[in-house]
Each structure stands twice: as structure tokens, then as C-alpha cells.
Symmetry: C2
Subunit: 304 residues, 2 copies
């Protein structure tokens, strides 16, 4: 692990109960901030801001720390940690939420420790856009802000979402939700509309079809790694964004060529994420393995 | 156009009536052999084998000839040409068949002219697998046989389809139909199963998500060109396969590196195809434009 602490992740920290073809996985670690920070930790030592309840296992805290993650911004509040329970379809392409128990997350307002407010690379995980704005209000001129969002906020809080979009650099969003937000189907036109909403860069996540990066006149189409056996897609999108930002933070560069590489590093993290249940694979791969997979992406995409 | 006549295309020649957001396009040129031959004609002078009725316009024959296509294998039979009528969804991602009038195509048995039987590069368009086998029975040791198929044959004629698959080199198939044929979802496992059925190479077409090439241990993920305004997706898959084969025929090579380039050339042809109604765009782009789009694909996929 690098000693560079120039990346901040704010988002949910959760305990997930997942039903999938491999069985039931009860109260395993989850949450957008966790996956993003663990992916970022392949490159730098991310700072994590979030909230958990008193039920949150010490062993998970220890695991995050041993991955080099700075958890001094992780509040512990009386009560239970955010708990999500869901069931995946047999082919793992869709899922149904069975329970969403916000618990201590219901009253979460991110408090950025003074020592974190100059962090240059900031990821706003998929939480209420008002909370994402609260984070930005506490930060001092970050170099790059990446945000994720979802259908829930597109439908429920369009006003705050629009304000948030005006203040970020990179929007990372699922394809279906990108179409919903843009109100059109053609993906080139979708990207044009997203960029008109504020962000300078739009990254559209397409799951097993890879990702598209739109920046100025440049379009980059990143393949997805052909995973032979997907175990658990939970957190893939957050791992993607966290790995992407971690690489940019490590390089301390946001030029377009670095951005393309960052998309591939994010894809590499996401591909490892889905190969294990919860964080079990993502939290144990080392940088050499990430680089090896980067090489596999290069072979996947190469032509003369 | 090159003078190389080392590519043969057998398939349907049709008149299509297409309803889409741009309007109704009545009895425009269509059919798998037409799109494939026109795409191949960007690279070589393909030989076309198919059947039309006496209603088939001379102007269409003249257009095919002016594209360098050898139509001496195009039978003209008393009656009407195969006519398909369909309606596309507003976003052009799905379509509904309104009429499928086989007409003279109902009794079609491909007759390969003696002069065509040594053609090394052969494309079997999406027709009854028994007819695809009839073609192979008439050919003398082709160097590469590419075949397309669809759900109709997977469901209706699995026995003949299995026999056909044992005799071809490259299967080009839509992703959904590949999953149906393989009986599984994960695309890596799908490809493994397809390759066990006979072909040495599997090419899985993913529409706006590009294509995957599986050959031995190699996997190639080709992006799709981000078309700003799709006019008509009819024939995109046939243009892809025809362009791919045309490039291989022109290079007279089937090594893996050439195969990867061929996938991109096929994708370039498909991207032009969808930019016009029927064949209007595909039949008018020149080789320089195809090369220019190849360059755009290279920029789309590049990372360091």
C-alpha cells in the first residue's frame, strides 16, 4: 500500500444480507463507501467518512485499517448499522430489495474532520444529494470530485441532485439511470445532456458491457473483464469508482490519458469485487494482481 | 473496389417495409445476403447467391453490380421477392414483425455456380441450416466459413443446426441467441459451449455494446461506435459479418491478429449501416471512410 492520503470517500457503510445462488450471506460488510475505499486502497490510503452503529464488528474496523484505510472519520453512533437485505436473480443480473433498514444512517450528516478538508481527490458515494453537497461545503478546493447517484434520487430529489451536479467534476452513473436522468435513450445524446448539467466528465457504467467515458470531444469505451464465474455483483459500481479515483490520486493527475487508465483500473477492481462475496476478494487482492488484470484488459482490447 | 473475387455470400435477398420513427420505408432493399455482400464489397468483389422474384427492381441489381458485387448467382424466379414488414420501437432497440412473406424464397435451394465453388471465404447468411449445409456440400475446401443463425432455427431445427455448426469455422451470433443456444447466461461459459459445438471461433454480437471474439484462449472485446443518431438497425448484424469476412478475404489471412482487425472492420460497416435507412449509407461509403471509422474505433479503445 502507498502512504498517500490524498483520497476521501464519503458514503454508506452497511451490513448486507445477500441471497444468491451461492447461498445466504448474513450481515456481511457492504456500503458504497466501504467498496470504494477498499478499491482505492489498492492505490493510496483513503480516508473514509461514514457512520456505523454500535453493532458494527471490531473485526471489520480492523480489516479496513489493515487495508490502509483511515477510519478516523467513521462515526460510531448508538444503534444499529444500516442493513440492506436483497435477493439476486439466478443469473445475478437483477436484484430485489427485501429490507432497507437505515438505522443510524437515517440521521447521518457527514462531518469531515478538519485534517481531511484539504483532501484533493473526493468521492461522493451514492447518498442523498443534500448530504453530498454538505460534504462539498466542508471541503477546501478539492482537485477532483467524483459523485455517484441512482434512480431513487433522480425521482425523489431532482432539485438537490441538480445542485449537486453543478458542483462536481465527474459523474459516475449506471447506464439505465443515466438514460433516466437525461430523459433520452441514445447514449451519445445522454452523455451530452449529462455534461450540460455540470460535470466536466461523464462515466457511464454498463455492468458486464464495460464503461463509457465522455470528456470534451473524447469518448473512451472500456471493455468489461469476462469473469468466468460471478459470485456477487454487490459493490461492483462503487469498487469501479473507488479504484478509478484511487489511481488518479496515486498518479496525482487528471489528464485525459490518465483518466482512461483510471477507468481500466476501476474496471479491474470491479472485476475482482464480483469474484467474491461482499468484500472478500476485493479486500485481499494486492496491487500486483490489479496490475496483472490491467494487463488482461490491455490484451482484451488490443487491435492493430 | 478491389478486383478480388474470393468471397461468397449466400443468404436472403429481400424487400423490407420498415416502420420506424423516421417514417415508413416501403419495399426497400434488405436481406442478409444483400447487407453482407455490400459490406464485403468495401474490401473485395463478393459473389452473391440468392433468389429474387420477377418484381425485383432492375435498379437494385444495377446498384449491387455498381458496388462490384457479382450477381451471376442471383436466381430470378417467377413470383414475388421475399418481403418482410416490421415496426421498430421508438428507441430502435426492439422490433415486431408484421408480415413475413417468403414468396419465391420459400422454395429456395442455393445453387452455387461451378465458377464459385472454389471461393475460399464463404459466408452463410441466416437461413435454414439445411440450406447452409447444401451450400457447403457444393463448395470445394473453403478456407474459412462464417455462419450466422437465429432463435427461429435454434428452437425449430436444432438437429440440422448442430450438423451445420460442426462444419463451419466461425459462428457469428447475437448475444441473446448465443445464450439460448448454449443454455446458460455467463458469456464466457456461453462461448465455451459454442466452441464445443464445432466452430473454431465464436463471435458474439452485442449491438450497441460491441462484439466479443473467442478463439482458443484469446478473448477480444470490440467496442461499438457511438452513433449519434441511429436511423435503421436493419442489417447491422449482416453488415458486421460481411465486413469482417470481406477484410479477411482481402488480407487473405485468418490469423488471430487479422481476425481482431476484421471484427473492427465489421463493426465499422455495421456503424455505417445503421446511419442510413436500408442500404442507403452502407452502399455509398467508400473504403477511405471505412478506414477513417476504423481509426475512430482505435481512438475509442486506446489506453496506455
Amino acid at each position: 500500500m502507498s502512504a498517500t492520503s490524498n483520497m476521501l470517500v464519503v458514503g454508506s457503510v452497511a451490513r448486507d444480507t445477500i441471497h444468491n445462488p451461492a447461498g445466504t450471506h448474513d450481515h456481511v460488510l457492504g456500503g458504497s463507501a466501504v467498496f470504494a475505499a477498499l478499491a482505492g486502497a489498492r492505490f493510496v490510503t483513503p480516508r473514509l467518512v461514514g457512520v456505523v452503529g454500535t453493532d458494527f464488528p471490531d473485526a471489520e474496523i480492523a480489516m479496513l485499517k489493515s487495508n490502509g484505510i483511515d477510519v478516523t472519520g467513521l462515526e460510531v453512533v448508538e444503534g444499529d448499522t444500516f442493513h440492506w437485505e436483497g435477493r439476486y436473480s439466478p443469473d445475478l443480473t437483477s436484484r430485489e430489495s427485501l429490507k432497507t433498514e437505515l438505522n443510524v444512517f437515517a440521521d447521518f450528516h457527514p462531518k469531515i474532520p478538519e485534517a481531511f478538508r484539504d483532501t484533493p481527490y473526493v468521492m461522493l458515494g451514492n447518498i442523498h444529494p443534500d448530504l453530498q453537497i454538505e460534504v462539498l461545503d466542508q471541503m477546501r478546493e478539492p482537485k477532483l470530485v467524483i459523485a455517484d447517484t441512482m434512480n431513487f434520487w433522480i425521482e425523489g430529489t431532482p432539485g438537490p441532485l441538480a445542485k449537486m451536479l453543478e458542483r462536481i467534476d465527474v459523474l459516475v452513473i449506471n447506464e439505465e439511470e443515466a438514460r433516466q436522468l437525461a430523459g433520452t435513450y441514445n447514449i451519445v445524446q445522454v452523455a451530452e445532456k449529462l455534461l450540460q448539467m455540470g460535470p466536466r466528465v461523464a462515466v457511464i457504467k454498463r455492468g458486464e458491457y464495460g464503461a463509457l467515458l465522455f470528456e470534451g470531444d473524447e469518448v473512451f469505451s472500456a471493455p468489461a473483464y469476462p469473469v468466468h464465474r460471478v459470485q456477487d455483483p454487490t459493490g461492483a459500481g462503487d469498487s469501479f469508482a473507488g479504484g478509478m479515483l484511487g489511481y488518479l490520486a496515486q498518479k496525482d493527475s487528471i489528464d485525459h490519458t490518465t483518466m482512461r487508465s483510471a477507468i481500466i483500473y476501476g474496471s479491474a477492481c470491479a472485476s475482482y469485487c464480483v469474484e467474491g462475496i461482499s468484500v472478500e476478494k476485493l479486500a485481499t487482492v494486492n496491487r500486483a494482481q490489479v496490475d496483472e488484470r490491467y494487463g488482461a484488459f490491455a490484451n482484451l482490447a488490443r487491435f492493430e
